[in-house]
């Protein structure tokens, strides 16, 4: 029993545990909208895009690199949305170009100029060392903003996630909802980056939501189940990372993957069938009528 409570005597671990649990919950919560909209790749891309801003701003304004990285992420998210909407380039291609270019820029800047902020490895894979009170306040603020956004725009978010075309003609400003979701997603990635890491954030956006989908057919239940699963993965992953001596983000994602396997084994075909619909994000495109008119 003492072994379990042993890490809690360290202040850095207490902070890490709090941040990891909140991060898991936040990513699980936002992840529901991301996976149901078929935007998992955007989550993956955005975390890489934020890394570019992270590297660039810690060079020029070391104290403000979090704000700079946030603005960079939001700009990338809006650019992806606009490029995908207004040009012949598909969303996947837009994400591939914009976010990987941003990530490559970040790697180049780190290699050339080094860092005055978090270490390169920590930014990529997450670390609980050196979590500042400001980071905790930032994470709490992002949780509050995300919760308020979803609470105030719940119906519009649900409608535009399920059926954007019909939502559009039913009085929902789908473009504004999408932009709001992109901003919230960018903020969530940024706020959780330090603990989970750039390369692993996307996994925590997807895994809790997919596991929750396998467990329920109700949107409301999926939302809170995904939040709880994300929080549990954060909590357990952080604990295990202490004992295993591996980066926190790595262990959090491994716990999430283990939960996925266990739930898949329990729910079997039913869970698989439920989660199969998660890639049906092309559903709003009209299906062509048969060639014969009669």
């Amino acid at each position: 029993m003492d072994t379990i409570f042993e890490p809690l005597q360290f202040a850095f671990f207490q902070k890490g545990l709090l941040v990891a649990t909140l991060s898991g919950a936040l990513l699980g919560f936002v992840g529901v909208f991301i996976v149901l909209r078929g935007m998992s790749y955007i989550g993956h891309g955005l975390s890489h895009a934020v890394f570019g801003g992270f590297a660039a701003f810690q060079l020029f304004a070391a104290q403000l690199y979090i704000i700079g990285a946030g603005l960079w992420g939001i700009a990338s998210a809006l650019a992806i949305t606009q490029v995908a909407r207004r040009s012949r380039v598909g969303a996947d291609a837009a994400i591939g170009v914009i976010t990987t270019a941003s990530f490559a820029l970040g790697v180049a800047l780190f290699a050339k100029f080094g860092t005055s902020g978090p270490a390169f490895d920590n930014a990529l894979f997450g670390s609980i060392l050196g979590i500042t009170p400001m980071q905790i306040y930032g994470l709490l603020a992002v949780c509050a903003i995300t919760g308020a956004f979803v609470f105030l725009r719940y119906r519009a978010l649900l409608f535009s996630t399920f059926d954007p075309d019909v939502a559009d003609v039913s009085g929902v400003n789908v473009g504004r909802i999408e932009a709001g979701l992109m901003i919230v997603l960018s903020l969530a990635i940024l706020a959780t980056l330090t603990v989970i890491g750039v390369t692993l954030v996307a996994a925590m956006l997807v895994i809790p939501a997919v596991v929750a989908r396998m467990l329920t057919d109700s949107f409301g239940r999926m939302l809170w189940l995904s939040t709880v699963i994300g929080a549990m993965c954060g909590l357990m992953g952080m604990y295990l990372s202490y004992f295993a001596g591996v980066p926190s983000g790595t262990m959090i994602v491994l716990v999430g993957a283990a939960v996925f396997v266990v739930v898949l084994a329990i729910t079997g075909g039913k869970g698989l069938r439920r989660s199969a619909g998660l890639d049906d994000h092309g559903a709003s495109e009209p299906v062509r009528a048969p060639a014969s008119a009669l």
């Binding site: 003609v169 409301g220 619909g277 049906d280 048969p290």
Partner: protein, 261 residues
């Protein structure tokens, strides 16, 4: 049932061109929707039926021409069943309530909203399915659910994209009868379809489209070999059955015989 409609105009399109990314799909379209109208837009795939529907909905801006909308216009839209993600985690009740997006901030419904949803589900005969997941419904029940969602907005114009596509004959009759009842209650209805025979028996007004308006009128006016050949680019025979025009594919030899005659 009334035909082309004599009530106030809800939408008026004059010489409208429409399309996507600079290329025209519809040319010089004159089309109006009146308050007591019940119209089917028919035509082959790629003819511009859905484009016309999108212009009416206001989700696609015309590339040319003039368009006006009544200030009283309240549109509801029913999408094609094939375009819906039926694995999305919502119940019938949640799906119908989606269309109530204004007037309340909190996610959960008020008592009055619950009663409204229940009333509209009862009107469409699916009140006992409210707590079911949407995947568990039959084709006809799915169509009724979307009609319920559309009706909750209290529209005066209902637009439907291929409402009889992918459903069996009995469900098709069911859906069209239901739309007839809604029209009798005073709602304007415009739907697209590629199913000519099904529409001739139920709709008082048809519009044939293929890049432009080919013909417009009652089924008897529109379902003629000449109009169908212009619309579909193939010869078709029109027979009369119980006073309704019925379309059959013309065998090639019959078409040849007609030509030589």
């Amino acid at each position: 049932m009334t035909g082309t409609g004599i009530g106030p105009v809800l939408i008026d399109m004059l010489a409208v061109d429409a399309g996507y990314r600079g290329s025209h799909v519809l040319h010089n379209v004159d089309f109006e929707v009146r308050e007591d109208q019940f119209t089917g837009i028919v035509g082959p795939s790629g003819a511009g039926k859905t484009t016309l529907l999108r212009v009416l909905l206001g989700t696609l801006d015309p590339m040319g021409g003039a368009m006006s909308r009544s200030k009283d216009l309240r549109i509801s839209y029913v999408p094609q069943l094939e375009t819906v993600n039926w694995d999305f985690p919502v119940t019938v009740f949640e799906c119908v309530l989606m269309s109530r997006t204004s007037g309340r901030i909190a996610p959960w419904p008020t008592k009055a909203e619950r009663a409204e949803v229940q009333a509209v589900l009862e009107r469409l005969g699916i009140s006992d399915l409210a707590s079911r997941h949407i995947r568990e419904l039959s084709g006809g029940q799915q169509q009724r659910m979307f009609l319920a969602r559309a009706l909750l907005r209290k529209p005066n114009l209902l637009l439907l994209d291929e409402p009889t596509s992918g459903v069996d004959v009995s469900t098709r009759h069911d859906v069209l009868h239901l739309l007839g009842d809604l029209h009798e209650d005073g709602m304007a209805i415009v739907l697209t379809t590629h199913d000519l025979n099904g529409m001739a028996a139920h709709l008082p007004h048809l519009v044939c489209v293929n890049g432009r308006i080919i013909a417009s009128g009652t089924p008897h006016d529109v379902i003629t070999p000449h109009v169908l050949e212009q619309t579909y680019g193939a010869r078709m025979e029109v027979l009369e059955h119980l006073g309704m025009p019925v379309v059959v594919d013309a065998a090639p030899e019959m078409a040849d015989r007609r030509k030589s005659a």
